[in-house]
Symmetry: C2
């Protein structure tokens, strides 16, 4: 089917998987790393930097924007996209609850 049955899962589970899904492509990981590295807005070099066609990059940016990890818009003839710090922090909080659930786990099964 290809259609995820989101309705049978909790809000938290859907939220975690939505975030993870966005990180689930190396181009989007690369875009975010580049944004942190240049420490400012994207200024057109992203297509060369990543090595994918311009429409493909645009599509990945759209998904990153949709989930709120980047913000900004085109200004004049160049984009101004950068990390949304507040949402990035919130995202980390959501993920860390999931990732750190092993802290109080003392089982020894397998």
């Amino acid at each position: 089917m290809g259609l995820t049955k989101s309705e049978i899962f909790t809000t938290e589970q859907n939220e975690i998987s939505s975030i993870a899904k966005v990180f689930g492509h190396p181009a989007r990981v690369a875009i975010l790393q580049h944004l942190f590295k240049i420490n400012s807005c994207i200024c057109g070099d992203l297509v060369e930097e990543i090595g994918l066609a311009q429409p493909t990059i645009s599509q990945h940016l759209k998904e990153l924007k949709k989930i709120g990890l980047i913000k900004g818009n085109i200004t004049g003839t160049s984009i101004c996209y950068c990390i949304d710090k507040e949402n990035w922090t919130n995202m980390k909080t959501t993920l860390s609850v999931f990732l750190n659930q092993d802290l109080n786990d003392n089982s020894n099964c397998c």
Copy 2:
């Protein structure tokens, strides 16, 4: 195309996205949460617990096993799958490098 161009990305970028991809489905998030909650092996209640058909669950378990986050096998007539603690910790380390890259970031662009 549907085919990710992995070869143009770094090993780290591909590794991060591979991990994230596995978390990119609520059923797999739910399975992992359940495994931490019951604090032992899965004992057959997973299909009822999650609410998807048995072959579907089996498929998700296969992916979790493939990436190393769970380990175990069937023993007799029941499965014995549980979290692979060592790999879970390694996974967290890999992800945290990516997630915490904002720590030294003082920019103020958008």
